[in-house]
Symmetry: C2
Subunit: 347 residues, 2 copies
């Protein structure tokens, strides 16, 4: 127990100590078939005695399962920005919630995710190679922009995968998503309900399906309240882009009294600009964000926002992938989650 041999103990060692065959030890370890009670105890004692841990490589060589999946953050770095993409995305609390949800689910199944960033063609090849060489059984994909070629490549290669959001183009792949339109409607109803007469929106990048849905959902809901026109300023999901968008909105529509930002970070930026211009929130301008992330709580006033159940969605995504890995013949599935309005001070 205390002596540490140069080489870790193997099944063979356990078998010798327990006085049984390798196969029997394997059966005890994996719980396959019936093994006599007494023999089980002897084997378990032997395992403890030698400090045995099954060798992952040997096991997956024969089972053809890695017991690992890839958690891929996919997107396009600006050429030459070298790692800035990784930094930006990984520092985004939204990704933290996704990772946390994935981890929370996977730990119940004893599998661990490998973290990968695919922001260049080279990196995409790495991901594909990683999966093809059996290092991971499948991929969980969180894309940050619409034209990501990786999902299609995975489908073409027949590699199991699940996405965090509906792909830009329809393809046979599992995904989880939010009913973004419903979320935007929640925001619109709240804004109009509290008496806003001139609402506007700071949208996300319009090539992202989620941004489009939030925009059309917001527009439709506002239209249903009788206002056909909604000023838009497009942002990039960052605080800085939210500031710029708010400035534009204020310049072009000084009378705006209600703003729906397509995420909290942009709402935070908008808030700063509103403060700067002496507009009180929510008295002069009501503001609603999206995501219910950290910034929503640290803002003053705290943000009224649309909450997506990100952790639950991420867990479900992991479940979809694992199910597909277990039964490769099963068809792709999608699960859509419902958002909820979290009312705080800003609207």
């Amino acid at each position: 127990m205390s002596r540490s041999p140069s080489t870790p103990p193997t099944l063979e060692d356990v078998a010798r100590v327990a006085g049984v065959s390798r196969a029997t030890v394997s059966r005890v370890v994996n719980g396959t078939r019936n093994v006599d009670r007494k023999i089980q105890e002897v084997v378990r004692a032997a395992i403890d005695e030698v400090g045995y841990a099954p060798n992952r490589a040997a096991r997956s060589l024969v089972t053809k399962r890695a017991g690992t999946i890839a958690l891929v953050v996919s997107g396009a770095g600006e050429p030459g920005e070298e790692g800035a993409f990784a930094s930006r995305v990984l520092s985004d609390p939204f990704f933290g919630r996704v990772a946390s949800g994935v981890l929370g689910f996977l730990r119940t199944r004893g599998v661990h995710p490998v973290l990968m960033v695919s922001d260049t063609e080279r990196a995409r090849e790495d991901v594909l190679a990683f999966l093809r060489q059996g290092s991971a059984d499948g991929a969980l994909l969180v894309s940050t922009h619409a034209e990501d070629p990786l999902p299609a490549r995975l489908v073409d290669a027949g590699l199991p995968a699940a996405l965090f959001a509906r792909p830009a183009r329809p393809m046979p792949i599992s995904y989880v998503d939010l009913d973004h339109q419903a979320g935007a409607k929640l925001a619109a109803d709240r804004l109009v309900g509290r008496g806003c007469r001139q609402v506007a929106t700071i949208s996300g990048p319009l090539d992202v399906p989620a941004s489009q849905d939030r925009l059309t959902g917001f527009r439709d809901a506002v239209a249903r309240h009788g206002s056909p026109y909604v000023p838009i300023a497009e942002g990039g999901f960052t605080a800085g882009s939210g500031e710029a968008a708010m400035e534009r909105l204020l310049a072009e529509h000084p009378g705006v009294d209600g703003v729906f930002a397509a995420n909290d970070l942009m709402a935070q930026g908008a808030l700063a600009v509103l403060h700067k211009h002496g507009r009180r929130v929510p008295e002069d301008v009501a503001l609603i964000g999206f995501d219910d992330s950290g910034p929503a709580l640290t803002c003053r006033p705290r943000l009224t926002t649309v909450r997506q159940p990100v952790e639950d969605m991420a867990a479900e995504m992991a479940r979809l992938l694992l199910d597909h890995v277990d039964d490769p013949a099963s068809p792709p599935r999608s699960v859509i989650f419902e958002p909820a309005l979290v009312v705080r001070e800003s609207a």
Copy 2:
């Protein structure tokens, strides 16, 4: 090329197509020994033709290398908070920067990190088991609290590891760290230099070495300027704890005109409280944070803060680990980085 056989191509298949032996293909793939030019070309053509990718499990079975390391976020979840720890840490932009630095370095070496959270005894066992079964060649550890037992356990088990911060108790293990005292001195000098007469500090949890260092570094530097007493409010590195700490400070020392918060999140909280009490920043109270993270930039006024080169540190940590994995006989090493003051509006 286009037909997809039920089973992926192996070395054997490549060898057959190329008309050489398995060994030769292996040599070409791995670049070991000399192989005749022409044969190399034939082999490479065959590899492309069959779409060969070396099987990771088979390879690591014989090389006894996983080609993977574990990136462990270690800390104590409050009993029963179930996954909240993971969510909190992974959403922390600081961790995002660490992950990004690690990833940036590892991708140059073709290794990928497995993300693990160890917040319970069970989870710690998982990490240990994961390493002992050879699923990863070593561990990168980011601890959030001082009494983390994992580093010692890794050392005892003889498993390669590197820490992101100096361990609470000295032990033979590699780590990178910041010269926290120097960072705190930077803040103190700035505060005193701009004329603050009554400075105070919001410290991190005092059982964390980094917090202690920042506190003593700040105290010493202020003392060197002639003020022996520095009011302290202990926080927990969260925005909420920063708010509470600032409230206490203001209640007990209404005349405070300069505050050093041990991280940006707490500074952000302090800022909100300062606003609430009608204190202008930096005119009435100058405020300095630590980390130069996202919140520092999104705050208004933007935070003057002490920047740690987190990405560089994380990359170095990964390098230390990989070096140790390559040469297990090499002694543990530590690398200390220098902080820099980033001057913005808050001080």
